[in-house]
Symmetry: C2
Subunit: 337 residues, 2 copies
Amino acid sequence: MNLCDFINTTRPELEDKLKELVLNSLTKDLPELNDMLCHHFGWEKGVISPGIQGKRMRPMLVFLCTETAGGCWRDVMLPATAVEILHNFSLIHDDIQDNSPTRRGKPAIWAKWGVPQAINAGDFLFALANKVIIDTNHKTSSQIALKNAQLLNETCLSLTRGQYLDISFETSNQISIESYFEMIKGKTAALIACCAELGAIAAGTLIDQQKLFHRFGNSLGLAFQVWDDWLGIWGNYEHTGKSVESDLVAGKKVLPVIYALEKKGDFARRWSKGPISHGEVPEIAEMLVKEGAQKYTEKRALNLLDEALLILDQLVVNQDAGRVLKELARSFVNREN
Amino acid sequence: MNLCDFINTTRPELEDKLKELVLNSLTKDLPELNDMLCHHFGWEKGVISPGIQGKRMRPMLVFLCTETAGGCWRDVMLPATAVEILHNFSLIHDDIQDNSPTRRGKPAIWAKWGVPQAINAGDFLFALANKVIIDTNHKTSSQIALKNAQLLNETCLSLTRGQYLDISFETSNQISIESYFEMIKGKTAALIACCAELGAIAAGTLIDQQKLFHRFGNSLGLAFQVWDDWLGIWGNYEHTGKSVESDLVAGKKVLPVIYALEKKGDFARRWSKGPISHGEVPEIAEMLVKEGAQKYTEKRALNLLDEALLILDQLVVNQDAGRVLKELARSFVNREN
């Protein structure tokens, strides 16, 4: 079995469960909230492209971690949907906070329905994620349900801490690479680490193993975000669904930018002069390449991925699943394919 | 013992616990988030007026419901702080959604730190409320902690459903009194019903009693919101801390307005012509009185309060506490004193 087979096997059930949990929690007097969520999750009538629905990588990670640790993916369906719901809450709020009008090639909720309803749609998903994780209670012991919920809530706190740092970076002139990594640890890696640990908990592993799965997820999550930053400058619009120049034009302090600002070269001089226009993007992206920012970013991403894979080597119980999990982990750092 | 004694006895411990839970969950690299939360909760240095901190009525309700059902207020400290934290999450997001720049006589978080950080500060409190309720686990059984968490999450879902309706009312021309009550049931009453039920659960009451406490809280919560609508038009700025004319000037569809719109009289004609200016407020508030909207609102609030008190009569185990709880309930509908 390879990753593609695994996704084809699990994805339809996951999508059905996700849709059931999200849409059945709405009462009939909330038609527009239903529309917003169908729009956001890619469940409009006639939609068949999974690209529009997002890749559901986080639930896949929960499934594969539990399988790798000797468990069964179906037993971890509720935690997997809970993290996907939580992830989508954070996307909806993030788009408002970043003033980003597009998500997966379509208008963001706030751009279509306004900021007040978008904040509320995010809050709704946040509440639902918590409800779903508590409801794991019906499929497992109270102790495990509580442990899952505790983990999810610690993760939410880390997410908001990371988000605070990310927003405050916008108005800060000097950001160190160290504080960048602190920020993405909360903003991105915490939820991916949570996915890995939820999988390990469900498989009944010992606490030491659970913590190692968490560390695996943390390194993988950092690698993922570093690579996302790479894509934000050098990625291909068609594959990522987001505008290739957005990060430079938006003035986002992504890793290549922070690295090049520390170099105090041509890029730093141009950056200090004010916003980068659409037309300047190719030239400035090339400037970053010349100053070593692209190579540095690639190296950091690959080192973090290696770190994750090394930890994973200690954890594999089911060899087949372990191989597929490694394939998934590698895809986090080469998401153009 | 009267309500004032009870508040004086419990409030300092509550405030300490609340402050400890909120501020200890912040790491040192988040100084501005700390400032935002101290500002919002009224914990700036030198602040001594409890008015600035809000009344903490919801935790008081949790305490008094548990005491009335035969429990002890200290045993319900964590659920009480969790609801207060959740309530404050909803206030922070609500102020953004309503475009309301003032909260308790001070700038709202969004007005001082911007919308992105305000959304995130709300999300942080939402996550924290969930963490605190799960942590009741350490003070009670896993079963009860899960039950508390389930209740809190159902409440959050109701809150967001009510908030959706509230926001959609802004652009709707015809709102029935029935749909108004559906909206406030989610937006306001759900959390107050949750407070009452959390108190009952902690006191070890049977499930039927818990449901009756929930119904008591629901009626009380509806009464509270109806009275809040009254205050939004005829209230006194100094006592409520919000601008007396804001609801009419903001064009909010509060109960007196919905009632008078149904009458299709002078008020409805004026309303249809566009926004009400600051200067017109006294005249238009008087118009509402003449058309019976003030009397109607008062009557609905008092009937709902009576409904709540009737349910409560079936539930009192500790007579002393029951009397104080009734005093608290009555204060929900006459909040100028």
